[in-house]
């Protein structure tokens, strides 16, 4: 009897996961492998794609400075976006966490809600706010005396970073918020009773404890910003290319699929390395927090 039951409990999980597993192997792993292979194929204006094995596309990416510049721009934008979300999102999560129940859940909805609203609509909003040199954003900043002359936002990296930071902000707030939930408010009170001022409390008590949350939020924001498509395409226009918009151009305008596949493969490989590497680093550095 028991051996039958045991055998069932070995087979059951595989029987239950088999359909999903077949789906993932069939229409995720195989297409990804085909894309990597595609990046080694040849392509010509008139002959189309030739299924041979050559390093032509990879050589082109490695030698043409256009690609180095484009990848550097992609990662520069992602890094600046990550910094901006961390510098603004972490304090906001902290402030949010100290609000009373009803306000807290209301503002959490307001800040996290945009996550589910179409990126196209959100970026369109920024395009409207930026709109040339006399856009609303510039008018407001100038009337407040923050800037003297209008900042060009449209078709610039500045504009891309601002709009991307807005799109990615909920991920950072959410991640820091999760870290704050694990924090014991009594520690803060204890520090205060021992004479620590607000600056000391934030620097010595709060910061070290929410740092893992900030860092894991940073990884999410960085990898999503580096591969973002809609915002760079709408704000950056046709000339300011990042990896995702360049790959799109190669696939749907130039029709040089192998080169586009090489760009996409490189982006994927770089992101996997960065994400896995920094995850491992964070877990080693903050092992006690994750225990």
């Amino acid at each position: 009897m028991s051996s039958v039951a045991e055998e069932r409990s070995i087979r059951a999980p595989w029987a239950l996961t088999a359909p999903a597993l077949m789906l993932f192997v069939g229409v995720l792993l195989i297409p990804l492998a085909m894309t990597v292979m595609l990046s080694f194929h040849d392509w010509g204006q008139y002959k189309g794609i030739e299924p041979v094995f050559i390093l032509k596309n990879w050589q082109e990416i490695a030698t043409d400075p256009y690609y180095a510049e484009m990848f550097w721009r992609t990662f520069r934008i992602a890094i600046l976006t990550t910094l901006l979300t961390a510098l603004l999102g972490a304090p906001e999560a902290y402030i949010l966490n100290r609000m009373s129940g009803r306000w807290k859940s209301f503002f959490l909805l307001v800040i996290l809600g945009p996550l589910l609203i179409s990126v196209v609509a959100r970026t369109l909003g920024w395009a409207l706010l930026f709109g040339g040199n006399n856009g609303l954003a510039n008018k407001l900043l100038m009337s407040l005396g923050v800037i003297r002359s209008p900042i060009p936002f449209m078709f610039t990296e500045t504009g891309m970073v601002v709009a991307l930071a807005h799109v990615m902000m909920p991920f950072m707030v959410l991640s820091v918020w999760a870290a704050l939930q694990r924090l014991d408010p009594q520690i803060e009170n204890a520090a205060m009773s021992l004479g620590a001022g607000p600056v000391t409390i934030i620097r010595r008590i709060i910061m070290p404890q929410i740092m893992p949350g900030v860092l894991s939020g940073a990884i999410i924001v960085f990898s999503l910003s580096a591969s973002a498509f809609a915002t760079p395409a709408i704000i950056g226009g046709r000339r300011l290319k990042v990896a995702a918009t360049l790959a799109y151009d190669e696939f749907l305008n130039t029709l040089n699929w192998p080169l586009g596949a090489a760009v996409a493969t490189l982006l994927l490989a770089a992101l996997v390395l960065i994400v896995v590497g920094s995850n491992a680093m964070i877990e080693r550095r903050y092992a006690e927090v994750f225990r």
Binding site: P31, R98, L108, G125, A127, M169, W177, F251, L267
Partner: protein, 268 residues
């Protein structure tokens, strides 16, 4: 716990304003009575909402998006519910690897997925078809469907199932009459979140859609690339309204923080 000081509240006010501003601006411009982009300073008008009716490609794209979202989320659940039950209940070799594989579409950039699916489906002659869109969307919404179903399955009280078994229920009856009703809130929330993800996806879909199978975000994106006028703001306002409705329902029934963080604390 200490209260927020005045400086913190000012920061908070500015932060929230900036978060809401772009969305609010789109909704306001949509009501402009003018023929160009402007904030409605003298009166609101539904003119640009009525204009949508003259653009059948937007309406067609809306139905494509709706059908695609509803169908792909449903199909994703057909695969995700059994997988979630297996991962929640059994400790077997390869369980962690399997869970990682199932959540991997969250980590892979959508631009890479778009390219991979375009290459894959074109080689089968399915490029640009609705069937290809469905399969691709099933894969990208699967993690969302799985995560919420998994949270419900982990939080489920197994003794109810044992009671049913002791009363002679088994197999399909057990699933349909006991297990499914117990995990249903998670399954429905998973469907709703998966639907929103599918409905909003641009980056992957833009590679796969062809004229005739363009989804609403793709249609909007292609339109914006040519010119930005009040029409696209009124379409966006409609999309925002639909998402907000789904959002408020999700928050009421399940809690938005739980949906987004994917945490499965059953004691709520």
């Amino acid at each position: 716990m200490r209260r927020n000081g005045p400086l913190a509240l000012v920061f908070h006010a500015v932060f929230v304003t900036v978060m809401v501003a772009p969305i609010l601006v789109v909704c306001l411009v949509a009501f402009t009575p003018e023929g160009y982009l402007s904030l409605p300073t003298n009166g609101f008008s539904l003119r640009w909402f009525r204009t949508i009716a003259n653009y059948p490609e937007f309406i067609h794209a809306f139905w494509i998006s709706l059908g695609l979202g509803a169908l792909s989320s449903f199909v994703a659940l057909l695969f995700a519910v059994p997988a979630a039950l297996a991962i929640a209940r059994y400790r077997f070799r390869g369980r962690d690897a399997l869970a990682a594989l199932f959540l991997s579409p969250l980590m892979i950039p959508h631009v890479v997925l778009g390219i991979a699916f375009l290459r894959f489906f074109t080689s089968f002659g399915l490029g640009g078809s609705f069937a290809a869109l469905i399969i691709a969307h099933v894969v990208i919404v699967f993690p969302f469907a799985l995560r919420l179903t998994l949270a419900a399955a982990i939080g489920m009280d197994l003794s109810v199932e044992m009671a049913a078994v002791s009363l002679g229920a088994g197999g399909w009856t057990l699933f349909r009459r006991v297990t499914l009703p117990l995990i249903l809130p998670g399954v429905i929330s998973g469907w709703a979140l998966a639907f929103i993800q599918s409905f909003d996806d641009l980056t992957m879909t833009v590679f796969l859609a062809a004229p005739g199978t363009e989804t609403l975000p793709v249609r909007m994106f292609l339109y914006i690339q040519d010119n930005i006028d009040p029409l696209v703001t009124s379409v966006s306002a409609c999309v925002i309204a639909i998402t907000m409705t789904a959002l408020i329902l999700l928050d009421r029934f399940y809690g938005l923080d739980r949906v987004l963080a994917g945490k499965g604390d059953p004691g709520r």
